[in-house]
Homo-oligomer: 333 residues x 2
Amino acid sequence: MNIYDISKKAGVSIATVSRVLNDSPRVSEKTRDKVLSVMEQNSYTPNVYARGLGLGSMNTIGILCADSSDIYLANAVYYLERDLRQHGYSSILCCTGYELESKQNCMKLLLSKRTDAIILVGSTFIEKRAEHNNYILEAGMEVPVMLINGYLEGSNLYCSLCDEHQAVYDVTSRLLNQGFDNPIHLYRALSYSGLQKKEGFLQAISEKGLNPQDRVHECSGDMDDVIDFLDSLYDSGKRFNAIITSNDELAIGAIKFARAKGLRIPEGISIVGHNNSKLARYCEPELTSIDNKLEMICIHTVTTLMRIFDNKNVANKTMFSAELIKRQTTSFN
Amino acid sequence: MNIYDISKKAGVSIATVSRVLNDSPRVSEKTRDKVLSVMEQNSYTPNVYARGLGLGSMNTIGILCADSSDIYLANAVYYLERDLRQHGYSSILCCTGYELESKQNCMKLLLSKRTDAIILVGSTFIEKRAEHNNYILEAGMEVPVMLINGYLEGSNLYCSLCDEHQAVYDVTSRLLNQGFDNPIHLYRALSYSGLQKKEGFLQAISEKGLNPQDRVHECSGDMDDVIDFLDSLYDSGKRFNAIITSNDELAIGAIKFARAKGLRIPEGISIVGHNNSKLARYCEPELTSIDNKLEMICIHTVTTLMRIFDNKNVANKTMFSAELIKRQTTSFN
DNA sequence: TTGTAGGCGTTATCAG
DNA sequence: CTGATAACGCCTACAA
């Protein structure tokens, strides 16, 4: 069933059918009703491929994320899909994993699908070495590229992020002022965001005159790896009374470590997570965490994208402020 | 840059270019190389819309799930997207929420996008009232419909699920035999899967001659609602020494309730979750949970779908066995 | 307000 | 092995 069949049955031309389809005002009420009823009776659905061919767009957005089962990224994907659909766009999801080559392949794949834009979810896409980000810049030559929680300068790139440097600086400073004068920082990877957090931590401790050596540690892998790492650190004689992590899962590992060692939370040791995901409520004691305003960032990203499609003015970089959510792993007032 | 441009530059016809594009054997090595190099030089990418128009397919699969930020569903989406991509298919994600009308709209949306199949993730799509499932049967008239962890009979519907009835029956029986003779069951909703779990629980207790009254409770909402519910149940004088839930989040709520009341886990009260999601490791004590083999189900679903596309024989219903993962909220040997 | 005709970029069916 | 040509189904000037 195509536009020709409908036009015949309704006794009009295909142009008129097309006009009805596209809500053109240049159709008389009568013919419109006639055409609509014929469509209804034959349960006609326009062919999106044909439409896409003519218009050069199928109203789809490519969403690239490393791992949609990660609770933080999963939330972002949820918010984005919801908002995009509200604006009439579908989402093609592509989970890249954490390796550069795989990310590049997925990007190529999405571009070949001719999506109207690409959204990169999570700062894992922004690598330290500039040449590793070239594929993102090149994507920007074809379609708008939106970054969630990552920053990269380039034409047709638009970044929405949270000031995590400031957030980690603030919470570290507060802990130091409170007497937790021996903090360490655990991060998963030095993505853009990971770097910001680390720098925020380092700035805070250096302002207090602390030696940064041995205070910053990479912890990849899962929760057990974190526990193992802290165990061996502790067993090697290293001591600390505050742990600030770059995500909530790391922090839960830290909680488990502390409990196993008989350290009292938060009196003996303070722990701060990051993302304020649901996980922060599941653990025991419940986790103080930095909320980086993910939903707001996602909404803003979609709004911005729609403005780009409308050729309106938009900012290339928008920064939100984080908020510290206090729970039981710290004793802030 | 289209197939005509390439054909001109390569000095061949568009038919030949198309043949090269589709790996047809009926092209001489020489022309093939020539055409390929021209494509390379002009970084030509075939237009998927045009191809879709001709072939009636763009190799995309529609994935419908209630909420991709739910940790269980998020995992399923991750596995599905990964496996589909491996087979050359892209995934269009659509999060429906839990209301029927919204589910129907999303289904319509995906069908209008002419995806090659629809995958329904989670038994929330299967409702008790048969007429509420009609839209799924209708979808089956257009494309194959795959159900993850739900069951509905119909032509062109294919279901992969886990025997959760048996799993809950087994664990309940074991708890009863162990002396936890006063169990209750908490479920989120009576989807197909929810129903199976509930029936498994009821069968086990009825075999032991227990009165089922007041032993089965709906707990919608978030973790705090679960805690509140159990609090008020307890405060009203109701007692129980085992809680079997239909997902891990409910179980974590139960843990928090028990700890707050000073009940000892697992000596005084046993708690069993469902899904064996990551959450089971985050809480304290760590949660015994029923693993319903999600990854296996997802892989099987994609494999089945590929066989359907190849017109091979497939089963309409495939059932896997669950596995009990014992942790600290039970004292099974 | 309505109709005609050309274009979008492929694939596929014929001949040669 | 290669080439011309007709679909595929829609949108949109341009004409009436």
